[in-house]
Symmetry: C2
Subunit: 297 residues, 2 copies
DNA sequence: TCAGGCTATCGGTTTTTCCGATAGCGCCAT
DNA sequence: ATGGCGCTATCGGAAAAACCGATAGCCTGA
């Protein structure tokens, strides 16, 4: 597979025409046709359905091109990174954070913001675990607050300070039969419950998934959402349960719109502040020290 | 840039030698040298420092190659996806949503999920306004719930149904002096208040910004966060105020951890369900109709 | 000082990509 | 029913890119 093939195929998908795509790309129609053919041969299925009305993307083609487009995005991002590496930096401090962690850490950070980050624009970017280490490594972020991950998944150039350890807990609607139970809920009991999951292969979505796979069972997944607050809102509708880091739902529990219960076996996660090993400038190094101390509480 | 160049460069980085990399790659040393040279020219800085001891990766080269490695990972992932697609396909409906909208729309969607989307895996992706229309247009999403935007900013192939109109409202910590005020708060009074903003150039962050610029004043921006729940958490710390779509803070207001006030002049935003004009398959068209009806309430 | 190992460069060969021409198909107007 | 039009797939040939082997130049160690 070549990058040009992906670019041509994406253009065809967008224009719904080989001829128009060729015009966009400033090459001949036959060149587009041939490269797309090669890509379809490599994929092993047609990406497009040629109809007299125009080009349709096949169902499989759509999924394929979705990921292909990520590649293009990464390539563009790489170009941006190169541009940035060629030039200078700005005076902000950018913090990446997994969703659902705001209620835990914003009080600590903003409690003493003027002392720890005077004259600095703080930007907080909610981002998924899947990409957040890469963003940190690539200097799009200055620091990251997220679940402590296996060293295998973390680029070698990063280090971390542990900020907190929190239990994963079950949240249910208040009228759910489990809501009255006082002892920890066995995960096995949840096998038939419709559950909202986070992304299954990274972050604490993976932790939750492992609770089930460790028992050799599959959860009954009602929906997948990549944001904890969406997950909480879905549970509030009464149609599902979820397992999330306990403190994420402090407000909803206090409000009474969710019930929170311990699970058995217990599973906790460590939350950490990641940074690059390579030192910041002296000024940013000071900002970072203050940040770390504040977040540890 | 071509994938081959990235592959060769990564191999050089790993082997710390052009000659050894060439052997790994089963090509000549000169081919590796020339392709890496092209990549360095495109990047605009050297990736490697040639020393008699061997090849060192430069600092910038390390950053660049880490991101380049992600591209290779994505290419491999795409090959996996192709392999999987050659097998069975999956049946999902993917909905993109702006942050902060979960509390408004998840009750409506999940209230009758079995009726409106039987046997379908629902995925909900929180995404920023900046990219969400592109994702919809490029068919990475099946539908999008977000702020109704200027037609200029929306790809021509999309249409929308209005779901709701909500007021932008001021949220403050309960002990804030403004918290006791009952009449609408004039935006001019907020000029000196530290305020948390969303991204300034799109979505309702832009709406909030215009409240100030319409008066010819600049807000006193304490921080920028791309996620409403982060914004609410920051306001809870007591250090800032924010202007958000009113219903987003229903829970926090009921809990008493935030106060919500009207602003003058009033500003409301319309929230809409966007889709592509081009019809889905018959089955998905049915799913979409149910979705739209459910979300309208 | 010299041999060895390595990378960068160069001229030539091979492979890939692109191009223009055209066959074939489907649709639409007459 | 038919011809014209627009589109994609294919083909042969030209152009461009990738690769190769040879070699110059540099550095290190004996």
């Amino acid at each position: 597979m070549e990058f040009r093939q992906i670019r041509y195929a994406l253009s065809v998908a967008k224009e719904r025409s080989f001829t128009k795509a060729a015009k966009r790309l400033n090459i001949s129609q036959s060149a587009v046709s041939e490269q797309v053919k090669l890509l379809e041969e490599e994929a092993g299925f047609p990406l497009f359905q040629r109809t007299p009305r125009g080009i349709d993307v096949t169902d499989r083609g759509r999924t394929y091109l979705y990921e292909a487009e990520r590649i293009v995005g990464d390539v563009l991002s790489l170009a941006d990174t190169a541009r940035r590496l060629r030039g200078a930096a700005q005076d902000t401090f950018t913090i990446g954070m997994g969703s659902g962690l705001a209620q835990i850490f914003m009080p600590r950070l903003f409690g003493e913001l003027d002392q720890i980050m005077p004259g600095t624009r703080v930007e907080i970017v909610t981002a998924p675990t899947r990409t957040i280490f890469g963003d940190l490594h690539e200097e799009r972020l200055d620091a990251v607050i997220t679940i402590e991950s296996d060293p295998d998944r973390v680029p070698a150039g990063l280090s971390f300070d542990r900020l907190a350890v929190v239990d994963m807990m079950l949240i249910v609607p208040p009228k759910h039969p489990l809501a009255r139970v006082r002892s920890p809920i066995d995960v096995g009991r949840l096998i038939a419950e419709p559950i909202v999951m986070s992304e299954l292969s990274v972050g604490y979505g993976q932790v939750v998934m492992s609770l089930f796979t460790d028992l050799g069972i599959r959860p009954n997944i009602l929906a997948i959402a990549n944001n904890v607050d969406t997950i909480k809102a879905i549970v509030q509708t009464g149609k599902a349960i979820a397992i999330v880091p306990g403190p994420c739902a402090d407000n909803e529990v206090e409000l009474g719109v969710l019930k929170r219960l311990a699970i058995a076996p217990t599973r906790n996660i460590a939350l950490a502040l990641y940074r690059r090993r390579q030192p910041f400038s002296r000024r940013k190094e000071g900002l970072f020290s203050g940040l770390r101390d504040a977040l540890k509480g």
